[in-house]
């Protein structure tokens, strides 16, 4: 006994295929929306800012005169910030991820830490600013130094890195670990020599994405009290500094039309930096595509 009427099925097929094609078109259009917005954004920024973007712009400090204003302090400051954020957040993030994935027992403390981390990931950045101000600037008396801001930012991006590193570590097949244990390796040897090398691409991609978040954040630094004007370069991590988004924010709020262009030029620099970092992430991701 046949329960399925084949001719019926065949009759319905063209309609189903048509729906499929239509939806494919819709999905494609949706994808275009994102790209389109990006294109408009870039177009606007570039047409506005490209005029102010020159070597002087990169070499000058900020100035009250739009034509003399430059991004030097902010750019160098952003890089300094990365110098603090990258090692601190990677060290803490990867350490935490290793702890959670490799060492933590399944108990309430671990659960608590995990819930806590995913919760931190959703805490508004401005709240981290409040924390940084109270803890690093005040309590630890680090002032508004690169270190204080860097530590604040590190905490801000920490959950992102932890989650990325956790995933990367989790993606390392169990059998690699077992293979190492099977040779009499200790746990730490296994982690150091097998798990981490295999997880490095994932960790780095996550790390770079986290850093590009850190490099674009303004709000927490505003709260921490990073100055907007600086006409010198920091020498040590204890020096004060300013960063790109703050400088940009400052310029956009100037009355003079020319500063809007300067701001756009600043945005271009920031975007280039961002794309540069993202490309590194992409290269790493593509180069070290999972091979196990």
């Amino acid at each position: 006994m046949k329960l399925i009427n084949k001719s019926h099925v065949a009759k319905k097929m063209p309609a189903r295929l048509a729906v499929n094609t239509i939806c494919k078109g819709l999905f494609f259009l949706a994808t275009l929306v994102g790209l389109l917005v990006l294109a408009i954004l870039f177009y606007r920024i570039f047409t506005q800012g490209i005029g102010s973007l020159n070597v002087d712009f990169l070499q000058n400090f900020a100035s009250r005169k739009p034509e003399e204003a430059g991004i030097k302090a902010a750019l160098i400051g952003s890089i300094w910030l990365m110098v603090v954020v990258a090692p601190v957040s990677l060290l803490l993030g990867v350490g935490t991820a290793i702890y959670l994935e490799e060492y933590a027992r399944k108990n309430w403390i671990t659960t608590f830490i995990k819930v806590n981390i995913s919760n931190l990931a959703g805490v508004p950045s401005i709240v981290f600013g409040l924390l940084g101000l109270t803890v690093f600037v005040r309590a630890l008396a680090l002032d508004r130094s690169i270190l204080a801001a860097g530590l604040t930012m590190s905490l801000l991006v920490l959950p992102v890195i932890i989650v990325a590193a956790q995933e990367a570590i989790r993606a390392v097949p169990r059998d690699l670990r077992e293979a190492s244990f099977g040779m009499g390796a200790t746990k730490w040897q296994t982690i150091l020599k097998v798990v981490l090398p295999a997880a490095i691409p994932g960790i780095l991609t996550g790390g770079i994405l986290a850093l590009s978040r850190a490099i674009g954040e303004t709000a927490p630094l505003v709260v921490v009290g990073i100055p907007m004007f600086i006409a010198f370069l920091p020498q040590t991590v204890m020096d004060t500094f300013t960063v790109l988004p703050m400088q940009i924010y400052n310029w956009t709020s100037r009355p003079q039309e020319e500063f809007q262009q300067v701001a756009a030029a600043g945005i271009i620099v920031l975007l280039i930096l961002l794309i540069f970092m993202n490309s590194i992430a992409v290269i790493i991701r593509n180069k070290f595509q999972k091979r196990y």
Binding site: D175, R177, A179, G182, M183, G184, A185, K193
Partner: protein, 275 residues
């Protein structure tokens, strides 16, 4: 190779151990009254098994009978599973390894393991082999080179890889990867090699190669192999233990098991009448 049926033996096969070849070869493992629980799940029940030097001991049984659990207990890999409890003892070379004072790392340095899925590290072939020696502190480049050659030869893969030692191990085929894993294991010159279904992920030809290799290896090592493939056990092992529901139903020399098993359940299993 002794393939004649042991015609005379009417005594329960399980005792062969104590009667037959036991006198000839030394025991590497002696398991007595081993019980193991995963939480509440009693996975191994009162296991008594002795394993002998320079022999291949096969462990067969249906899925979930506790084969992997048992072999992982032999190098305490089972400890990676949380919430495992054991009673009884397993003596390796006369020392109880279940004693917590026995350092697992020491044990595993003596007892190598090869896994179901080939699991080379995502490193070069060379680095894979020297991994063990290196973590154990051997750094001399010349010695390491020697170890690599010796181990790869031992695993019958040297000729296939000698010109590409520094390429990534994942470029090898499945069968080659598995032999590389065996080479990696040989590199620390273990005493015993545990293998948990080492060919179940491989094609028939690679499987045959590994089987041949196991036969070679037993000249120098004692091998304990878990397998789903009964014919494999029949082909390559000297003794076979049949597990069922966490119990050892029959442990006897392989020929007996596959020609004239003592227990009805063994016979049902090996003849495929089982469900």
């Amino acid at each position: 190779m002794n393939m004649t049926l042991t015609r005379e033996k009417e005594s329960p096969a399980i005792e062969i151990d104590n009667v037959g070849s036991a006198a000839l070869t030394e025991k590497v493992y002696e398991t007595s009254n081993l019980n193991l629980w995963y939480g509440e799940n009693h996975a191994l029940k009162n296991i008594n098994l002795d394993m002998h030097q320079n022999e291949v001991t096969a462990i067969i049984g249906p899925s979930g009978c506790g084969k992997s659990t048992y072999i992982k207990t032999l190098n305490r890999m089972i400890e990676l599973v949380p919430d495992v409890k054991t009673t009884g003892q397993i003596k390796y070379r006369n020392r109880n390894i279940l004693d917590q004072s026995y350092k697992v790392e020491d044990l595993r340095t003596q007892v190598g393991m090869v896994f179901q899925k080939p699991n080379p590290f995502p490193k070069s072939i060379y680095e894979n082999v020297v991994y063990g020696p290196k973590i154990h502190g051997i750094k001399n480049k010349k010695i390491l080179d020697e170890i690599v050659e010796k181990s790869l030869k031992g695993a019958a893969i040297w000729d296939e890889v000698k010109d590409r030692l520094h390429e990534n191990a994942y470029g090898l085929s499945g069968g080659q990867q598995q032999r590389l894993c065996i080479a990696r294991c040989l590199a620390i010159e273990p005493d015993v090699i545990l293998m948990d279904e080492p060919t179940s992920a491989l094609d028939p030809i690679s499987t045959l190669k590994i089987e041949e290799l196991v036969q070679e290896l037993k000249k120098d090592f004692s091998i304990i192999i878990v397998t789903h493939n009964m014919q494999q056990a029949a082909r390559i092992s000297d003794r076979t233990a049949f597990f069922l529901n966490g119990e050892v139903i029959e442990y006897s020399d392989t020929n007996t098991i596959f020609s004239n098993p003592n227990d009805k359940r063994t016979e049902d299993y090996i003849t495929g009448r089982f469900g």
